[in-house]
Symmetry: C3
Subunit: 332 residues, 3 copies
């Protein structure tokens, strides 16, 4: 027997000091996100690259987050790669998150913490070593996130697993029923450990296919669903396919496109399925604006693709120009 | 193909040499433990702290075990923390167990080997790093215990997992059906590897709740059940609740309270749920004596809480005084 | 999002260069292996010891493989011990396999890659540390084998797991249904990653018992089954028992005895169940020849038992003499 219950007042104080007065708890109401006054909230956000990568590059800092705010973002997504989490170490990585969350709050941006793995968690087969994780590590990560940031309203969203995929069975198989149970278990853990934010759940095909939600939704209240509808996931006209594949979910639940973006096929790092142009930009942003779907651009980095900027002065890339203009056009 | 079958006569001899003539195989008969002559055996024992901790502190030795015997104990429980098991290394830790078992036999005390983890083995979420383990490690531990000590009658009990708990779902979920299957698999492994001792199975809520045993007992013969009814697990009057929560099991199966104990709220290390006084001591020992339930006091250490002694001379703590007197009052 | 698709033309070229013109893709047709022309192929092969062991011993080289060919083998089996795989490291071990496959092709021998573990993969309990592996490691191994050698016809067979066994429950339990699903998942992974070779599936009792195949065969096309009918697995007369235990499978599916062999009880390393003599040799080879069952002798090493040769000049052991003569007697 050994139960130690204590209030970690030191951390609570630090967190409260860091957060702006303006941040408030975002909740789910029907198929929308709402603030405390019940106002519908739609987020247009930007993905940072991994805070660990930014710190290593010497870019991680308040200026970087401030720049994201200047581009019109009302939220940021921090993709935490499991390999970076292990390599930097929990304590050191938490310092990065503490900073990022505090800076985001200072510029009135909400935060998605994203466990950035790609593959089949059931079989532990992933796209690359950097995405390697295990079910217990994933549980433990979310337990810690809930303990550490669960009461902090700036951390509005917990994206439980970035891109579940069987990769045409290269990673073997997993059923929706199995995936559903894993997500439900994580949600249980998050909530039991004080996580008051909104869990976001992705479907197969690299966070694209939400069709099983129709018959068999996640059994939990107050959550949202995720899709990553990059340009090449479907042929034009996109809209009817988007609706059939994931857009229909918004009739019933909140939906967040935690990754959208495009680049030329000649752009550095261009790869399937991100090649596209402003036609895609117009289509996806109009689709989202029509339906109150929140979206986040991938990625605020000059190396990771599709880049949003191209040099040390944050000079926008082609998609950077498009989305900077678009995001700044929204009425705040 | 590579099957090597050998009789490890060296270890067998060592083990037989170490054990006293007086120790005999304890078995389960109905709801009681019995010796070879069929006499009902009820154990009043004491928990050591982790042998690894005691060895590090320079306390591990025959005198320490002899002292426990002087306090009236007829059995000792060795809590093996998975982290200590890995840190010291299997070979070195086995030496500690070899010693402890031999000393226990010398003073006519039976032994519980206790795999001292706290948490949800299914999700690998634990109270603290020191309790971290995995299902395969747990299987392998018990396989080895059975191979090494399975024929040694001094090692009367195998406590398969100290305190299973979901911690109000902070460690996620596990059903009784799942927990039952894990325990049954360990029991199968123990027996197939020659373990002739008695497996002890704990219920959820930190080894407190045995209610599922009513409808769905472990499917194995010759086992016992465990509860850790510390003072604060329930409000007074305790007895009807104890009967409803775990005491009813004794109508059908042997029950061992492998941890009981109390301390003042001002005592060093005092924590939920161990705060209590002699009222509790009287209640729990009377309850056990009435029902032939064996019990073990937590813990024979001057640092771990609730302590049984307070200095290097084994001066009893408050609960130490109480239980020393109580245990010495039984007719041997 | 990060999908990188590229054709690893460098490796493809290397592989094509390495393989002989004469090797062609072996396929399953009914209960037989056939070549492209539809000719039934029966393999009489030899087990190398672990390439890692041979490399450490300084024996790994073209001469060693050539010697196997001289003994009449039309195929070789490479037993990859999980511990050797991890110790040498994936990149270095792949070099050994690249070499072995190229040399085998040069001497017109097909290859079985064999994941050489012994035990219960479900519980991660194994005969010895050298056989330790996990389900994810096993999946990842076969994913890599399929990516690397999937298009190379020399690598005709993938033996998914050498010897599954509960060891009379010393390794706990696993049902055929569970084992079947594991094998089916590996087969799915192998094929999705381009593995065009033939998966070989073993049954319990150390790859001996295929009786569950009667009612509940692996649900996959184009596979074969494995048995290791060493002399002591059954009493004489062997044939009716062999038919009942695994031989009946050949009525419907291809069967490969990936390990047979014998030695005197006084031979170095002699152990259950390999003790036997030429009576066994005649019985098993006649049984196989009658039914077009392929077989592989264990093991072309002077230390591992039963040895096929006894010194640095490849002087045959007793079983070496027997099988060398036998294998050279077949018409090519
Ligand atoms: Mg305890
Ligand atoms: Mg997929
Ligand atoms: Mg073998
Ligand atoms: Mg519990
Ligand atoms: Mg078996």
């Amino acid at each position: 027997m050994k139960i130690v219950i204590y209030i970690s007042s030191f951390f609570v104080c630090l967190t409260m000091f860091a957060q702006s007065n303006k941040m408030e708890r975002i909740k789910v109401e029907g198929n929308e996100f709402v603030n405390l006054a019940g106002k519908v909230m739609v987020f247009r956000g930007i993905n940072t690259s991994d805070p660990d990568k930014l710190a290593t590059d010497g870019i991680w800092g308040e200026e970087y987050i401030q720049e994201i705010s200047k581009w019109g973002a009302t939220a940021v997504r921090f993709p935490v790669h499991p390999s970076a989490w292990r390599r930097r170490g929990q304590e050191a990585y938490l310092k990065l998150l503490d900073q990022g969350i505090a800076w985001a709050a200072k510029y009135n941006m909400y935060v998605i913490i994203d466990w950035h793995s790609i593959g089949n968690l059931k079989n532990q087969l992933y796209l690359d070593e950097m995405y390697n994780t295990t079910l217990p590590e994933t549980y433990a990560f979310w337990k810690l996130m809930a303990e550490k940031y669960g009461k902090n309203p700036t951390v509005a969203f917990y994206e439980l697993f970035n891109e579940p995929t069987m990769y045409q069975q290269r990673f073997g198989t997993i059923t929706w029923e199995e995936w559903k149970k894993i997500n439900e278990e994580i949600i249980t853990i998050v909530r039991a450990n004080g996580g008051e934010g909104i869990p976001l759940v992705a479907g197969f095909n690299w966070a694209y296919d939400l069709t099983p939600v129709k018959e068999n939704p996640i059994e939990a209240e107050g959550i949202g669903y995720v899709a990553h509808p990059y340009p090449m996931k479907r042929e034009q006209p996109w809209e009817p396919k988007w609706t059939a594949d994931w857009g229909f979910v918004k009739d019933t639940y909140p939906v967040v496109l935690t990754e959208i973006g495009f680049c030329d096929e000649t752009a550095p790092g261009a790869h399937v399925p991100v090649i596209g142009d402003e036609t895609y930009g117009d289509a996806i942003t109009n689709y989202c604006d029509d339906k109150n779907i929140s979206y986040f651009i991938w990625v605020f980095d000059k190396q990771w693709s599709p880049q949003m900027y191209v040099d040390d002065k944050y000079t926008p890339s082609r998609q950077g120009k498009y989305f900077k203009k678009k995001m700044r056009s929204y009425k705040k």
